[in-house]
Symmetry: C2
Subunit: 142 residues, 2 copies
DNA sequence: GGAATTCCGACCGAATTCGTCGGGATTGAG
DNA sequence: CTCAATCCCGACGAATTCGGTCGGAATTCC
């Protein structure tokens, strides 16, 4: 996702490209990106010169959504899951007093994840040190 | 731990007792409690009529310490571990920009865990619904 | 038509988790 | 002293998950 963030706006990038940059097996990336596509976070273009690109600007992609797409509902324990559909009460739920702890932990996690977007993780392409310098350009100026 | 919390101040409790209340295999509890003892959270008394009891009042036992004793350092990812000793830099650490996210998540988790003590999880023994009702009784009244 | 690419589903080895087992060491009670 | 209750220890085991592989079918551009 960070790689796709860097390339945002430059058309689809092939998995081969990303695999190279990130030094990960292409086949594995394929698996990951499939989940991201199903979640609508990336869009795919098939055929030659196809590839993947972000479905929205990096600043609008919450990391909580990325993580949910890749790893399922946010849940430190089965009894404290994000997704009500997967809320599977353990047999102990009656006596168990620990649930409140896990719920707080979960909220802490999703809170921080909600507060970060992909833009927070994509390395800036150019850094304007002097605020009076208007030549600080929107990326990709060759 | 919650069970030991309930029994706090009443002398050592045997694993058999707790196993019964909690409906968990004694042999398994044994394994867990060993870690807790090594961490100093519970103290053991050997021999007949021995058992385990908390090493401090419930309100002074932070849940972060309990979790660390049972599950090791708090770390959503290997590259964002609590315990500097286990900080094992992944080979990607140079290029990887995601670390900051995991560190924030980790801090959120340990923050909430630090803020809760065992006392927060031990069910109160008597609940006075009407402050004028002095018959609200200490648990277990048949 | 052929090359580049996504798409799909099955498979696999290693690690972790939850739990078991058997027996040894220590201590209080009779 | 002996016995029963209990902690103590280390090894074992089955199920699940995780990171990753493999082979090939479908799609699109040149």
């Amino acid at each position: 996702m960070v790689q796709l963030g860097r390339r945002y706006g430059t058309g689809p990038s092939s998995l081969a490209e990303i695999a190279l940059d990130e030094d990960l097996p292409r086949a594995y990336l394929e698996q990951l990106v499939t989940s991201l596509r199903d979640a609508g976070l990336v869009v795919s273009t098939r055929g030659a010169h196809g590839g993947y690109e972000l479905g929205a600007p990096p600043s609008e992609i919450r990391m909580s959504d990325v993580l949910r797409a890749l790893e399922g509902p946010i849940a430190p324990m089965i009894c404290a899951t994000d997704d009500p559909a997967h809320l599977l009460g353990c047999d102990r739920s009656a006596r168990c007093t620990v649930n409140v702890l896990w719920v707080r932990v979960r909220d802490a996690i999703s809170g921080t994840l909600d507060s970060m977007t992909l833009a927070d993780l994509v390395p800036a392409r150019n850094i304007t040190l002097d605020p009076r310098d208007p030549t600080a350009s929107p990326a990709g100026v060759a």
